[in-house]
């Protein structure tokens, strides 16, 4: 364990980040029936620790790629909350002016390089960023987030090989929540020897079986000097659990593909609670209030923002 995890400033920062993500997504779920958000939402409630643990030690000018389940990555990396909320509301002030929706959040200023709704697509794209960063020579890194399902796509294997061959500064982060939509690993993986497989490319691998935010943060912080020095990619597998349904605002323990008892151990070690418990009550109350203010402001911003102008339909098909 690193000293850092005892640092109150870091604990506060991590708690705030976890709390923002959790509350933003709860608000999205609350608002969803109102039809103000006309975009499929894939909530990461329960999985926040992966994004926060990985992104906390990154620099502002490092990058992270997300998936369609990308609210957590976006926010943890420092993506603008107002711009995200406005994007979900389809407003012109959204991070992509209403052209991304929930599934393609991006904030280049803050190092969020985008997300894709086609599983696995951003993996080589992240490697491409890393190629550019290697040429740039400033030691910037890319954290590439993807689910367990994405590792089944051929592009994952290709990208590992390419990144390892060219010693590119990519941190591959597998958020293994055990499911692709409703299909369990057992229906999709011949074995669970994923890390062993990744290691055959000469890539160092790490495993965080409970995705504890602080442990994960330490693991990532420890690998960063290596990543920045040009020794090549690193891989982290994080076991985690999705509390809500695959897409949409609700729970789905009655769907038949999983049970609430399966979820219980995960619900008990809620990452937001774990981090919150490490704070003094006053600090926590203050942060919580801040967070609520920020979210309320973001929702207000989104609601009051104008819709895109109809002329936007054919704008930005091509760059000038």
């Amino acid at each position: 364990m690193y000293q850092a995890t005892e640092d109150p400033a870091i604990i506060e920062r991590i708690y705030r980040s976890l709390r923002v993500i959790r509350r933003v997504e709860e608000e999205i779920a609350r608002l969803y029936p109102s039809d103000k958000i006309k975009s499929p939402v894939h909530l990461s409630i329960g999985q926040e620790s992966v994004a926060v643990g990985v992104c906390d030690p990154l620099n502002g000018d490092d990058f992270a790629s997300g998936t369609y389940r990308g609210h957590a990555t976006y926010l943890a990396k420092g993506g603008d909350l107002n711009a995200m909320m406005a994007e979900l509301f389809g407003k012109s002030t959204g991070c992509a002016g209403g052209k991304a929706g929930s599934m393609h959040l991006i904030d280049i200023q803050n190092g969020v390089l985008g997300a894709s709704a086609v599983v696995g697509t951003t993996i080589p794209v992240s490697v491409g960023f890393a190629l550019a960063f290697k040429r740039e020579g400033k030691g910037r890194v890319v954290a590439c987030f993807f689910g367990d399902g994405a590792t089944e796509e051929g592009v994952f294997a290709e990208s590992l090989n390419f990144a390892a061959l060219h010693r590119l500064p990519v941190l591959f982060v597998c958020e293994n929540n055990g499911y692709a939509i409703h299909a369990p690993l057992s229906a999709r993986w011949a074995t669970d020897r994923l890390r062993e497989r990744v290691a055959t490319y000469g890539i160092p691998t790490h495993f965080v079986p409970d995705s504890d935010t602080f442990v994960l943060r330490d693991v990532v912080e420890e690998t960063l000097p290596e990543l920045r020095s040009g020794r090549g990619p690193v891989f982290v597998e994080c076991l985690t659990y999705r509390w809500r349904e695959h897409v949409g605002p609700s729970e789905d323990y009655d769907g038949g593909y999983r049970t609430r008892p399966e979820a219980e151990p995960w619900l008990r070690c809620d990452p937001v609670e774990v981090a919150g418990a490490r704070l003094e009550a006053g600090t926590r109350t203050r942060i919580d209030a801040d967070v609520e203010d920020a979210i309320a402001a973001a929702i207000g911003f989104a609601e009051q923002s104008p819709d895109p102008d109809p002329s936007e339909l054919l704008a930005d098909v091509f760059a000038d």
């Binding site: 006309k38 975009s39 052209k99 393609h104 409703h182 999709r188 038949g256």
Partner: protein, 356 residues
């Protein structure tokens, strides 16, 4: 929309697909299903529900996220005598298996000198609405119409969904079966008995004399409504459902367009090198008259699909805009005419809600 064949029983588009699949699987043990999510409680929006219990996991195969190899597996299994149906919950994912579809499935019969056949069906759903956006809403059927050796069908109603799927499964060639998400809400009269809607035959859904409207998949519904709007304006529109895009029944379209002198082709996809381009080109190439057929293509705006409702609304053709375009072809000199907005919106689209 009601089916042309009058029967008692009415059912939905997804039910028709489920029924046809079940029937074909029971009839022919070589039919197998493959895909992501085909064995879960949602069952591809109901179209595969219960099939794994009925036919077992050896015939209803849940797959990893490996579209490229699973397509190759389907091709190989088909060459070896099975009849796989490979299901994609979004057509956009076909971009991951183009190599197998274009370079292998479409070519094997020819490049192997007729010594093998590839009887497989690829079911692909076009998404729409609720901000599915850039990568969950594409209608990419034209890419397959470009490549010889693969058939493409896009039924517009439950009746044809059942009959076209049966025809596709029994076909000895790869068939892309295009389903539009918005059609899942529609019902039509569907005979309980089994039947095929044969490849290469279009259907004239409504007779008219001033202009021919051709609507692909869900756009057929918009064309039918457009015809009603046009009727109010005193214009008689003929409406054609091509049903099969490859092989395409151009004779029916050419005959109609030659007679009306005006052709509007409306696709649920882009127009550039799209199905609409093909239908228009085929029509003017074949037509023999010296008088020009006035033509108009409609489809997705020439842009990536924007999820925000205000832009998404403009992105797709709808009955009002189709009617207005047709009106302008028929009365090019007349004043601009606007279709009544209240009559233009269609129930199936209004009711649709939520991403799934």
């Amino acid at each position: 929309m009601s089916s042309p064949i009058n029967t008692e029983r009415v059912t939905t588009f997804p039910n028709a697909i489920l029924e046809s699949t079940r029937f074909e699987m029971a009839r022919d043990p070589s039919v197998i299903l493959m895909g992501l999510g085909i064995t879960d409680h949602i069952g591809i929006l109901g179209t595969t529900k219960g099939l794994v219990d009925e036919f077992g996991p050896d015939r209803v195969i849940e797959t990893p996220l490996s579209e490229d190899s699973v397509t190759g597996v389907a091709v190989g299994a088909a060459m070896a005598g099975l009849r796989p149906i490979h299901i994609h919950i979004r057509m956009d994912f076909l971009m991951l298996c183009m190599n197998q579809l274009v370079n292998m499935a479409a070519k094997a019969h020819y490049m192997y000198g007729g010594t093998v056949r590839v009887p497989m069906v690829v079911r692909a759903v076009i998404g729409k609405s609720w901000g599915q956006g850039a990568q969950h809403s594409q209608g990419l059927h034209a890419l397959f119409m470009h490549v010889p050796g693969i058939k493409v069908v896009a039924p517009s109603n439950a009746h044809d969904a059942k009959g076209c799927l049966a025809a596709a499964v029994r076909d000895n060639n790869p068939v892309l079966f295009v389903e539009h998400r918005l059609l899942y809400r529609t019902e039509s009269a569907v005979p309980s008995a089994d039947y095929c809607v044969a490849a290469g035959r279009a259907r004239v859904c409504r007779r008219g004399s001033d202009v021919t409207l051709v609507g692909v998949s869900v756009m057929l519904l918009e064309c039918l409504r457009a015809a009603e709007l046009l009727e109010d304006a005193g214009i008689s529109a003929e409406v054609i459902d091509p049903i099969w895009l490859a092989p395409l029944d151009s004779a029916t379209i050419v005959e109609s367009a030659g007679r009306t002198g005006r052709l509007v082709v409306v696709d649920t996809g882009w127009t550039s090198c799209g199905a609409a381009a093909e239908i228009v080109a085929r029509t003017v190439e074949t037509a023999r008259s010296d008088r020009a057929i006035r033509v108009r293509r409609m489809g997705y705006a020439a842009a990536t699909c924007p999820p925000t409702p205000v832009l998404e609304d403009l992105y797709y053709p709808n009955s009002a805009r189709i009617a207005e375009a047709a009106y302008a072809l028929v009365r090019p000199e007349g004043p601009v005419w606007r279709a009544a907005a209240d009559k233009a919106e269609m129930a199936y689209a209004q009711e649709f809600r939520g991403p799934f």
